[in-house]
Symmetry: C2
Subunit: 246 residues, 2 copies
């Protein structure tokens, strides 16, 4: 394939859409997102975006920018620059991100780069993994009298360095990219008084054909999660107790 940037820059930029791909299943993107992908001339996509989603933009030039937790990936500044370069060469540029662009998506850096270059842009929200996971297991994140609030957090900075921050004190806790930090998360929550009996659901490859659901207790998670290479979402709290047990 020829280099999509091997054409002259124009004085006036095109328009950029930061699009949430959703969790992976091709029909869990929004109608708006699917339309934008169908009309895009070039699509810059993360490693977490599935081939099923990329099939929605058969006419576009695809550029992998390979961001993925725990793996070597293109530096964010290079992605920003590539996005700006594309916008000065194409009318319609989509930046496709797994889940929702505004949650753990580094969207701030990309929006700043676009604004500094005076490139018009819009955001298209996507289904974040936690909601697709709750749908898969048919368990709500909030539950009357049991779970009145929910926190989304991640224990890494996106470069594999652990945050030195307290875990949120909400009833339901959702840890993104939670597979590698599972032991640490379980230890810290038990240390801070969370019951070892608290239910945990870890889901790998949410919404995809190879989705895998693991149920255990917080005490059991101290020994780690038997997950594979896919992205893992860890959901913790009484709302995750199976209904037949409540």
């Amino acid at each position: 394939m020829s280099d999509p940037l091997d054409r002259p820059a124009r004085p006036t930029p095109g328009r950029v859409w930061l699009v949430g791909a959703g969790p992976g299943a091709a029909d869990l993107i929004t109608l708006r997102g699917a339309r934008i992908l169908g009309e895009a001339e070039v699509v810059l996509y993360d490693a977490l975006v599935t081939p099923d989603i990329l099939a929605l933009c058969p006419a576009a030039t695809l550029i992998s920018v390979g961001k993925r937790s725990g793996q070597r990936s293109m530096a964010q500044t290079l992605i920003n620059q590539q996005l700006v370069d594309c916008a000065f060469r194409y009318d319609r540029v989509a930046r496709l991100k797994g889940g929702d662009p505004m949650l753990f998506g580094r969207a701030d850096e990309e929006m700043r780069a676009l604004e500094e270059a005076n490139i018009p842009f819009e955001i298209v929200p996507g289904i974040t993994t936690a909601f697709a996971a709750a749908a898969s297991i048919k368990q709500p994140l909030t539950k009357r009298g049991i779970a009145r609030n929910v926190a989304f957090f991640t224990s890494t900075t996106g470069r594999g360095e652990p945050h030195d921050v307290a875990l949120p004190g909400c009833d339901t806790l959702i840890q993104y990219m939670g597979g590698q930090e599972a032991i640490d998360t379980a230890r810290r929550l038990i240390e801070h008084g969370k019951s070892p009996n608290t239910p945990v659901v870890a889901i790998e490859n949410v919404s995809r054909d190879d989705e895998r659901i693991i149920r255990l207790s917080l005490a059991e998670m101290v020994h780690g999660l038997p997950t594979g290479e896919g992205p893992v979402l860890v959901m913790i709290g009484e709302a995750l107790r199976v209904r037949s047990d409540t």
Copy 2:
């Protein structure tokens, strides 16, 4: 219109889908959600579901179950019963909920009722209002070095009674149905040490034509929000500071 339940019950139930309608704009539902609505014979919908979304199911019999925060609405047990009654009279029943069904959606009660009646069901996730709001204002909910986690909470039980619970301690706080509790929320957060200078964005009618964005500080929110009759989402935290000020 004739009563959609005025037909004999059958021994074998149909299938039910609990579908997230998303925030209101017709093209912010998922492809899967739109397909289910297009195929449904009957759709039970909440008051927060917009006419634009209902236009996606022109062939279905529509039943309003009128749930809306702060207003008198059908009791949850009656909704559960109506859902079960529909499932024994139609092959394809959609239960359409604003936002995502698994967040503040009383889905637990409806899923229990379906399971007790041995009715097969599936959940289709939807864009929750917070992500659509972040997309509208082009500000992320998490931000490197500024906001590492986010909490979704509501101060009411869904029947107008305030929770007697602490406010979550996350970097970004998102209060659903937050308009009426704004004064109380601001006071309590300041009492607990949150800076009065913390940015707040209150958004009414997110993603709709009459969307209204109000920017203020936590100190200013102590005097209340100048919002109207529509649903209000309140977003609090340094991630909401406008980029030109950071």
